[in-house]
Amino acid sequence: MYKGGYTGKILRVNLTDQTSREEELSFDTAKDFIGGAGFGIKYLFDEVPANADALGPDNKLIFSPGPFSGTNVPCASRMAVTAKSPLTGAVGMGLSGGHFPVEMKFAGYDALIIEGQSKEPVYLWIKDNEVKFKGAKKLWGMKTTDTQQIIKNDLKDQNVRIACIGPAGENQIKIASIINEWRAVGRKGLGAVMGSKNLKAIAVRGTNKVDIAFPDKLKEARKSFTKAMKDSEVLYPAFANLGTGMVVDHTCHMGIFPTKNYSSTGEYDPIEKIGVEVQTSRTVTKEHCYGCPVGCSQVKLAKTGDYAGTLSEGPEFETMYSFGGITGVENIDAIIAADRLADEMGFDTISSGVSIAFAMELYEKGILTKEDTGGIELHFGNDKAMMTLLHQMSYREGLGGTLADGTKIAAKKIGKGSEKYAMHVKGLELPAYDVRGAKAHGLNYATSFTGADHCRGYAFQEVFGIPIPKEVDRFAAEGKGALTKWNQDIRTAVTDAPTMCAFIFDMAVIGIAAQNTADLMEAVTGMSYTTDDVLLVGERINNLARAFNVREGFTRSDDTLPERLLTEPISGGASKGHFITKDELTLMLDDYYAARGWDKQTGTPTRERLTSLNLAYVADELKL
């Protein structure tokens, strides 16, 4: 019996036979994996068979908030969504905030596991412990905002919280996202998994409370957390008023804001066109996730030309990169409109923008011709061309159809040496940091269990100069293996598993994060953790995720970076001349596997390390 935090119940839904049942959350799973990404990866490894078709009935889609979601712990309304990624074939896990995660807890569930495949489009209606399968034929083809509104109308409850897919997910493009409210589980094609199951949406309404084991202890733990937030040099007023967009200027100054498909980073510097000053000229209001006092999300209104009148929550920093820097588009209003289009159609802004930038470079180099583009002048900076391609991608039409599954697959279709310009790791497009000038960040891209993912082991030491656990030289390769392991493990342990906001971690509580997580776990759930226990949870999850990928055939050779980052120096700005040499990547990988206790030749976790993490059954499964 759980004292607090956990509801103790998992909801398992089978779409093939339209059944559902409640299961008990195992105490060992709660203790060893905490929640969120931990639960997602645990169920993924245990339940999805090796080599399952990511878009077939054997893949599962797991929604898991954390033990603090639905309590008065600030910034805890997040959930992980996990499946095998159709984009990479590896672990597909992403997190989203908003209100849906706490509603799941109020409905009474620590996780929702969706299995099978419906014959017809359906949506799920979960009201507390009542589960209904509702026909969704009339919703099929609908954009995400309209989908949510029509479902609310159908259910005659405007307070229902909804996660859904748009046309992109329905058409199973491999960069499709899942949208809840205005938030997104953007990456790794999880929207395509939902589409493959003919599941248009999940609507949730809950009326329960989440218990607290020790309210007095929670007061103390909350106090430490909120004090760290108030003391932060960044959170107030900068981050609360500017949001992630300020990082455009920051990374431009550091010479690591990637531009024009990484061909002109630092040399082409778009601060005056799309930097934070221009962004704030479009800000009209802000949004808060449930229980967040900061409200970093800046809602912007496009004001000029064909884009005037279009509103978008964001665009966040990553999208300023993907629809701005990397495509060379300098029209802030086009970026706002593209962001809205991506959310409405339901696809990842990062992968879609990087895929278009890839095509733009191919066009500039003559590898793609006007015949290939259907008459579009696909030069860098052409915002109209970007909008056309984004629309095409949603429906697999024209050149957009070639790009709809990301750069790795597009390069295979196009051939002609185009892979050289495809900026991805394991099939996942690179996020907004030119890691030639931030090498631990690069090593994280190479080794993250999801592919090139800034949300796994963010090297804030390099990007923001935060000296925890120590100061590091961003241009050095030495010492980055152990650092990257630490970054991946702590972030998993204190944000992704308990589903706490990663921004608050980076900007405020980083110095006390492991202890504060232990304190919050004890106060909310009654379970005791040391700081070492907390970090071990992070290490355990990273090992289990790696084991999933090993079972799918991934090896050390997949832990790499695009050729361009290993051979071409950054061409201008504050990181000019820097790149990650192949020898440096080898050195960093060797150090990383050594720090992880993994086999250096194959990158496979060892039986000894897995056993020490209470994962001996995983070693058995991998036949180690």
Binding site: E233, V234, L235, A238, F239, G243, T244, M246, V247, D249, H250, T251, H253, M254, G255, I271, V276, C296, E316, F317, E318, A432, Y433, G437, H454, F460, V463, F464, G465, P467, E471, D473, R474, F475, A476, F503, D506, M507, G573, A574, S575, K576, H578
Partner: protein, 95 residues
Amino acid sequence: MKVNIRTSLAFNEIFGHWKFEVSLPDTSTFRDLMDKLDRDHGERLGPYVFEGEERSLSTQIMFMVNGRNIRFLNGEQTILENNDQITLLLPAGGG
């Protein structure tokens, strides 16, 4: 000699620009540069860039010369050269 300076956030308001040049005597150090900027913009700049009675450079700011944090050069005694690119970044986050 001249050095090129780039700044962020509140610094932009203090300096009036986010990108500007400063003239310095040859062989000036990073500390010399900061002292000059302090003389020119002292009342508002000082509290950001110095800390403690010894007025050492703040640990909250990223001070960079040609992209490298001065902590990995020679600290505030780093010798500047003509056309060096100096970056002063206030704490930022997100992304």
